[in-house]
């Protein structure tokens, strides 16, 4: 199939765009434009026109999301807007077709409501001229199956998704459909249904006391098995979507991983800073408390020393109270006798001396008592002062350490905060949560699939056992001989067909594998770096290095591009049909020599292509991709070159041939 002309109406920014590919220039079409001019939506329009979908990047969409803003604005209230994509295509030498897909929407209250969606296909033949095909969906499916479409209509910057694990189902379906083994697959399935029906008939016919419920059991099992298979298929489809979502969120998560690490580091630092601040405050409080306790003693230290000296003087001058209590001396006088026996009667020398002592020491003892009273507390003050003075360096040092720690950590935190100034914590949290949810969804779906597969195995075994019981019951009834024979025969055919199918699938897989390897090896420049590329039993495309290790994720951007293009071309070759390859930004991720090499590869894939055969490559590129070197390479194929531009004022794209 080759596209001759495309007309797009009201599809996003393509309000009214027509690209007619001139004769002699249809094999290679280059559409160049700046970012945001509508190249990707041009691809999506084409994809929607051919398949009714927008490709794997936009699996779900509403009809109103297709409509261009300018069409919505200019539509009257209660008026209609029609979005349409129309293509003129050539199929081989003589056959042509016109494909038109459209959807009309009504504008009410500022909103759009879809009406009918239409698909029409007109084919031209020499005898009949233009004629409408009866089933346009079937015609399109036959000429460009939707499941192939994303190997021929794709975004060159998403090539790593081409071969993700979840694609294996697509690869399997694509490979089997190409070889038309899918029909055989369905036939084997139908044989199984016939066998089940016959077994039910046997069970029904051999009804007896012990066999009454055999038929209903068998039918219940069939229903259960069918439900399980349907559920598993649905879960597998959900798994594909879940894995796609996981890959997308993983890509975003990869970008934020570093930011997440920084957020964790920042949070840890914030905790450390808070702790350091608390330690600093504690050290400061200890310092202040120490100063408050010490202050009166240090400030009055001279006064304390002075009083201490006075006490010392008094001690030396014997002004401190004598060892005798004046009251004890008064008692001696009252007794008129000293403890030593001396006479202390009135007028005696001894009595005069003691009375003199009482008088002097009474006065002295009051002052001395005060001094004595102050002696111990002053000693306590001095000891306390000495202890506090001694602890000064320790307390001041602890505060200095705490302040240094706080200052250092605060500075580190500030630097990190400045580095993260443009981060949006909330968005990062949302992306992280999305990744976790996506991962959970994938794991959950896989677990459910595993559980249901086990259940299916159990039910199928039970069915096999029940078939034996039914057969054993039927043996007893000679009238059921024919039916039993049919069941046996059908079962044997089904088993043989299943075996043949498995062998055929392997053969096809190996054939596609070999051709894929041939294509890929013809494209790459480091041929000695890889063992033969293959499609394994799980229908995953495997690239192995010479050491025997899986290396697909290690391919360079150029090698991945080559592998993707090789796969597309292989499918075309095996199918014996050509599909137009339309690629958005095929060289977007490449630079320098690699870009030129891949350009040469793409050009080589068109070798011998002309208007008479169906090989066609349409590429949408930015000006950066379509540099002078690339232009020189592609010029050898005399491409049709178009320029796409976007008018800000009207929000519309235009397409002009250069």
């Amino acid at each position: 199939m080759k596209i001759d002309e495309i007309t797009i109406s009201n599809f996003r920014q393509h309000r009214n765009v027509t690209a007619k590919f001139p004769d002699g220039q249809k094999s290679l079409v280059l559409i160049r434009g700046l970012n945001g001019t509508g190249k990707t939506n041009f691809l999506k329009a084409l994809t929607w026109g051919l398949t009714g979908t927008l490709g794997p990047r936009e699996p779900k969409f509403t009809p109103s999301s297709l409509v261009s803003f300018s069409a919505i604005s200019s539509a009257k209230e209660s008026g209609e807007v029609e979005v349409s994509v129309e293509m003129a295509v050539s199929l081989g030498l003589a056959e042509k077709a016109r494909i038109k897909r459209s959807v009309s929407l009504s504008k009410k209250g500022g909103d759009l409501f879809p009406n009918a969606q239409r698909l029409s296909v007109l084919t031209e033949s020499k005898s009949k001229g233009w004629d409408s095909v009866g089933d346009p969906d079937l015609w399109l499916e036959a000429n460009l199956p939707e499941r192939f479409s994303h190997y021929f209509l794709f975004d060159g910057e998403q090539l790593e998704n081409f071969f993700r694990a979840s694609e294996s189902k697509f690869v399997q379906d694509a490979v089997l459909q190409i070889a038309q083994i899918d029909h055989l697959d369905r036939m084997v399935g139908r044989l199984g249904n016939v066998e089940s029906d016959l077994t039910s008939a046997v069970a029904r016919s051999s009804r007896g006391d012990s066999n009454d419920d055999l038929e209903s059991k068998f039918q219940n099992l069939e229903v259960k098995i069918a439900e399980l298979k349907s559920s598993i298929t649905e879960l597998e489809e959900n798994l594909v979507l879940a894995e796609a979502a996981q890959i997308e969120s993983r890509a975003q998560f990869g970008e934020i991983r570093e930011a997440q690490g920084e957020i964790r580091r920042r949070e840890q630092l914030e905790t450390d800073v808070d702790k350091a601040e608390a330690r600093m405050e504690t050290a400061q409080t200890q310092y202040f408390t120490w100063a408050a306790r010490l202050a009166p003693m240090v400030l009055a230290s001279k006064a304390i020393d002075s009083l201490s000296m006075k006490i010392e003087e008094a001690r030396q001058n014997r002004e401190l109270p004598p060892p005798y209590d004046p009251n004890a001396l008064r008692e001696l006088i009252a007794e008129s006798k000293c403890v030593c026996g001396s006479d202390l009667s009135k007028g005696s020398e001894g009595r005069k001396h003691i009375e003199h002592l009482i008088e002097d020491f009474s006065a002295l003892s009051e002052r001395g008592a005060l001094l004595q009273q102050s002696e111990r507390p002053l000693a306590v003050l001095k000891t306390r002062t000495a202890e506090l003075v001694e602890s000064a360096e320790r307390i001041i040092g602890a505060l200095a350490d705490a302040q240094t720690e706080f200052s250092t950590k605060s500075k580190t935190l500030e630097i990190l905060r400045q580095k993260m100034a443009n981060h949006d914590d909330q968005q990062i949290a949302v992306i992280s949560q999305a990744f976790d949810l996506a991962t959970e969804a994938v794991a959950g779906t896989r677990a459910r699939i595993a559980v249901q597969r086990n259940q299916l195995k159990t039910e199928e075994k039970e069915k096999a056992d029940l078939e034996k019981l039914i057969d054993a019951a039927a043996k007893k009834d000679s009238k059921l001989g024919d039916l039993r024979t049919q069941v046996r025969f059908t079962r044997e055919i089904q088993q043989a067909a299943t075996g043949m199918l498995a062998r055929l699938k392997d053969e096809v897989r190996e054939t596609v594998s070999t051709k894929l390897n041939d294509q890929f090896q013809s494209m790459i420049w480091k041929k000695e770096a890889f063992r033969p590329v293959e499609i394994d039993e799980d229908y995953r495309v495997r690239v192995t290095n010479m050491q025997g290790f899986e290396n697909r994720s290690g391919l360079s951007a150029g090698e991945t591009a080559c592998l993707a293009f090789a796969f597309s071309l292989t499918l075309s070759e095996v199918a014996g049909a050509s599909y137009p390859m339309v690629v958005d930004s095929p060289l977007g991720r490449l630079s320098g020599d690699v870009k030129e090499s891949v350009s040469e590869v793409l050009l080589k894939s068109l070798e011998g292509a002309d208007d008479l055969n169906s090989r066609q490559l349409i590429m949408l590129m930015t000006d950066e991709e379509f540099d002078d070197q690339v232009e020189t390479i592609f010029a050898r194929q005399s491409p049709a070159i178009f320029e796409i531009q976007f008018d800000q004022s009207s929000s519309e794209a235009t397409l002009k041939k250069v």
């Binding site: 100063a291 009166p296 400030l299 009051e366 507390p377 003075v389 001694e390």
Partner: protein
């Protein structure tokens, strides 16, 4: 010594807020405020060291309960009293010692009020001053 009949070492009425402010400033970031006794003695010692005492105070009726004074506190007041009057016999008049303490406390708090006009730095500056004087005391004793 004549037993005192006084109940409080009193703040001047107009200085109560200043004592409260001093109590908060010297408490440290993670502690409650200092007690009345602590700030009274700090102000008293500050006023004594700087030789500044009030001529008189207008008693506020609040301050430090004399019954809560320990022997070391009384000894400190006595030391300041002796340093001021130079006469041991004067020490027997404990009430005069208390009065002197109040006058020095009032003088000291007025001086400190000026320093407290920079509340953010006052605590640090005060502690640093005490640390410096403590080092000098340590050197003298060595």
């Amino acid at each position: 010594m004549a037993k005192t009949s006084r109940t409080f070492l009193e703040f001047d009425t107009s200085s109560r807020e200043l004592f409260a402010q001093l109590a908060k400033s010297l408490a440290g970031p993670s502690a409650e405020t200092l007690k009345n006794k602590d700030v009274f003695f700090i102000a008293m010692a500050w006023g004594h060291q700087h030789g500044v005492k009030a001529k008189s105070i207008k008693k506020s009726g609040t301050g430090v309960r004399i019954e809560y004074l320990k022997d070391e506190d009384r000894a400190l007041i006595a030391a300041i009293h002796l340093a001021e009057c130079g006469n041991l016999d004067e020490l027997l008049e404990e009430d005069k010692g208390f009065e002197l303490a109040e006058l020095f406390a009032e003088g000291g708090i007025r001086l400190l009020a000026e320093e407290m006009k920079n509340p953010g730095q006052f605590g640090e500056a005060f502690a640093a001053e005490i640390a410096t004087q403590a080092r000098e005391v340590a050197v003298e004793e060595d």
